[in-house]
Subunit: 238 residues, 6 copies
Amino acid sequence: MRSDGRQTDQMRPVTIVPDYLKTAEGSVLIEFGNTRVLCAATVEDSVPPFKKNSGEGWVTAEYSMLPRATVTRTPREVSKGRQSGRTLEIQRLIGRSLRAIVDLRKLGERSIIVDCDVLQADGGTRTASITGAMIALGMVANRLLEARMTPAGVLLDSVAAISVGIVDGEPMLDLCYTEDSRADVDMNVVLTGAGRYVELQSTAEQNAFDDQQLQAMIALARKGIGELGTLQRNYFKL
Amino acid sequence: MRSDGRQTDQMRPVTIVPDYLKTAEGSVLIEFGNTRVLCAATVEDSVPPFKKNSGEGWVTAEYSMLPRATVTRTPREVSKGRQSGRTLEIQRLIGRSLRAIVDLRKLGERSIIVDCDVLQADGGTRTASITGAMIALGMVANRLLEARMTPAGVLLDSVAAISVGIVDGEPMLDLCYTEDSRADVDMNVVLTGAGRYVELQSTAEQNAFDDQQLQAMIALARKGIGELGTLQRNYFKL
Amino acid sequence: MRSDGRQTDQMRPVTIVPDYLKTAEGSVLIEFGNTRVLCAATVEDSVPPFKKNSGEGWVTAEYSMLPRATVTRTPREVSKGRQSGRTLEIQRLIGRSLRAIVDLRKLGERSIIVDCDVLQADGGTRTASITGAMIALGMVANRLLEARMTPAGVLLDSVAAISVGIVDGEPMLDLCYTEDSRADVDMNVVLTGAGRYVELQSTAEQNAFDDQQLQAMIALARKGIGELGTLQRNYFKL
Amino acid sequence: MRSDGRQTDQMRPVTIVPDYLKTAEGSVLIEFGNTRVLCAATVEDSVPPFKKNSGEGWVTAEYSMLPRATVTRTPREVSKGRQSGRTLEIQRLIGRSLRAIVDLRKLGERSIIVDCDVLQADGGTRTASITGAMIALGMVANRLLEARMTPAGVLLDSVAAISVGIVDGEPMLDLCYTEDSRADVDMNVVLTGAGRYVELQSTAEQNAFDDQQLQAMIALARKGIGELGTLQRNYFKL
Amino acid sequence: MRSDGRQTDQMRPVTIVPDYLKTAEGSVLIEFGNTRVLCAATVEDSVPPFKKNSGEGWVTAEYSMLPRATVTRTPREVSKGRQSGRTLEIQRLIGRSLRAIVDLRKLGERSIIVDCDVLQADGGTRTASITGAMIALGMVANRLLEARMTPAGVLLDSVAAISVGIVDGEPMLDLCYTEDSRADVDMNVVLTGAGRYVELQSTAEQNAFDDQQLQAMIALARKGIGELGTLQRNYFKL
Amino acid sequence: MRSDGRQTDQMRPVTIVPDYLKTAEGSVLIEFGNTRVLCAATVEDSVPPFKKNSGEGWVTAEYSMLPRATVTRTPREVSKGRQSGRTLEIQRLIGRSLRAIVDLRKLGERSIIVDCDVLQADGGTRTASITGAMIALGMVANRLLEARMTPAGVLLDSVAAISVGIVDGEPMLDLCYTEDSRADVDMNVVLTGAGRYVELQSTAEQNAFDDQQLQAMIALARKGIGELGTLQRNYFKL
């Protein structure tokens, strides 16, 4: 039925390579089907100016796509001298999602930056980034605790994300690029491990939608994020 | 109960000054309480490169705040050489919302740009911008039709937006700045005149939320947007 | 005789709305005919690096036009990443004019920034800005004195400005846009309340001019600035 | 009396090296005392967009200072990514001054760009630039005529400029840097060869000035520009 | 002897993953020890302005490091709005090296862009980039020939590169980061498959060097590049 | 034989004007034939952040070409908002070359910046810049010693540079622009006064080269740099 034979409520295969980088404090190469994102977490002993002397830390994210992540080459953002609105929107979303499950006071006055670099893009790069960034962050949080640099409880919960949409009138889970590009509605859902909403962003790309469609999409997202949470728990402890 | 004495399901007073500018094809000064936005629509006889020779037009928006729209002066974005992520996010949202109710084919190969400049900010600037931009756009669409530059039917519907949130555990309609800054959840809803969703953006600023809270916020938003639609219909015809 | 029926030595009607903004320390909406400028004064407890530890304060201004202040939409300067030469020239002029009548030592180590944002432009935006900025600055200076934050005497005098020019061989006062765009000579004069020169900028746009024309333009400017000074004195005290 | 022993109405020695560059269509190294500016004129067979298909040409100028033109090193403007307001103001002034004496229709659809690069600065760099740029432009105009690329009459007149000011209460001609930096008033005058005003820019740096002082400064400027015109006429013909 | 036990004339292990990306026309993941670079080749049917209507094509390269390629996080270049001098130098070198072995006339008016993105850095990123970019380019050239889009002979030869240096007085092949950072001399050599020089860049970081040391470094480089050429020939044909 | 009648191993005439600027601590106008570069050395009592509290100083260089240094006008780099890759490459080369012969510890925590501005370009601007910058630096070092601001021994040696190349199959010394633009190989050599290599950069612009050609180019460079060293020693002492 779908271009790759999936059921409408079926996720693409997810693969995870932990500690892909020798250079980073924590990293993961995560794949949702052909979407491949490298997430690397950095711990820095400083905080942004608005957190100076607050006793609290900060968690943020950066997002970028390599030029040939896409089937047609996308020029580097540095060539225009600035990040696009899309990039800024996505990295703000990743950062907010991660901060939702971190106790910044227990983190102490340090920053965790998670870089999400898309090596190959086939839809759902922002949700794969959030899901992978959570693993890199979780591994780093566990290591800070082992090294007795933070108390227990820095992680309040975990977080994961998936895209859903309405394609040809049908609600579908985990859209690939060809599905996404002809979807009537595109929705990204970010839930905590406990199943509470962190973010809900739904956009009518072609046709406005009604409450029934909203509920159907939410149900699909809950199913997918449940599966992602099970996978995530192999790589870090709360 | 609320800082300005409103009920939790009560909007702030909305005032509208149509054709505030002699220089623009259509303009409106809109106020939601102390939030004051100048929306001005421009018609240009050209389209962006990706619409060249498509037979279709384009609708877009730009958003900005004057430095003293805020209680503490905010430096101009030009002084950093680029727009912030927040600005880009908002103007992309306004543009998508307007395009959702325009038949770009009937518009023909021309662009409508709606500039939303915030003169004074007290929460809800993005939803006031969408609501005011709709009026400026509607006036311009009516004038294009009167001048026989477009066929009937450029406007498929109208669109309006409101913010809701959860403050001190209580769902509330149309947050002012002091409410917004301590809200647990902040949600912006954009609906068509027919009551279908164009955008739903909900962010847990402090605490993740559950399905019941989601439904309560949606109900408040539907009430507020209904009132805005009644007001809008004084200024243009579908 | 003139497009709007004025005499050659007649100003356009001037209207002033004091404290147009609830958010600013002092603000004014000033109109010279259809030219409408919002001037907002900000007091900051810091000075630029070159004034650090000098015991003196600083006064500066910023100037900008909204995109639809003009009959044809003008793209925002942020889209090019920098302010135009024209903008920089004007805001430097406003700043110098204001500093000419402030005792920076009595102001103490604080800054006053006056933002002049043109909502609608019909010629003379820089002179309306100086005249309006003086009122916003005067109101702020009076309030600093009332609050006993400064001693008396911060304001040494007042300042106001007007444009004059030679159109069709005829010296004229307070040019509107259509007059300005076909003027042979364009001149901006800034005088103190006592009638001394702060700035004199005269440019032959089409034809060089002689001493007699220079004197005629100066006489017109003195008349107009006299009238502006009378108006200004309603809003602040020296 | 003055730091270099000059009379108040005496210019610094002016030296001119024509065709200083082998690479340019016309160039001059001009010195007003220790101020040393290299002016180079370029002819290009294209015009800016606003002159396309107008049948008219364009004349413009660019101005810059080498980092060690000044006694304290001034960082290059490229290091900040943009030209300062001062630079933009000066190059706009030079361009306007040159255009005042060129018949753009006779020039035909081509551009002349005059680059004014200050090798050493000791006050009066903008007036030395205008005076030197006129010579480079004049040489180029003469060569275009000799090569029969333009008809006669491209040059309507010549133009030259000088600074005057009030220092210690005394009107003075051709201020050097130490005089300029403590002047009460700084004034730049640009006159045609026929003695008509092209630009008059007078700024009260310290104290506002009166009509009598204005007349005294104008008289000094007329004397100095007369001497410069005599020198200029050795290098090109009208 | 060396930190990783290698002989002074011994290369690190080299591994190559061809067609690492499904999205690109040709790509390779290449590793020199812990240095890991993703090289992706793009074919575009256009050429830069200076090659328009020349009948010739163009080959160019871009280079970048991910933020966590390094042990300490390196901020993204887009955050400063421009590429560093080091980045520009390296990508110019890669581009020149590739052009040295391509017949641009036979390529026809199309461009090949090779993106070299460093995922993990441990010295020698520029030489690994050149060696990997050659493979991606070679694969693409072979595919253009198979698709009969170009005639035979686009590739004139192959090219490969290695770093050598003098560390503790000893000439060494293929420096890792810790060796490179304390080397007296750092040298990058680019040779064709036929063993001729394309580039030779030698820099005395600490101590100037003499002719004997120059010859010793060249001999080491020839050995290493010979081994790289043998590996490269598995992935494309000349 | 060569376009200007020189032998293949013959330099162009070199002229040197010491202390060309009254404003700089040390400066020189140097000419290699028609290539004319103004080199100005600045001493600043601060060091870059990475040298703070190191007890060591820093030496750096900046390079730029005036727009009409070239036969066709080159737009200013500030107009693009950034320096080109070529400019950055050259100024990094000049800086490294100068640092190779300075004892940064004896210099103390101060910086020397040498600005190299090309007034006229005819090939070899980077090597003329290095050779002239050495003289300006040497003069400044001698003056710091005379003023007892540094101990003896800041200068460890001198440094000079020349370009060589292979033109029409023939190795040639000191290429002018027309030779350089059709050279098969272009090589820049930087040697200390003692004849040791500081930099060796050789690029096959058209044809890869072999060892014999490399040796022939090196021999020519040694001859030329020997002559430059003799000239340099007239202007400063080691």
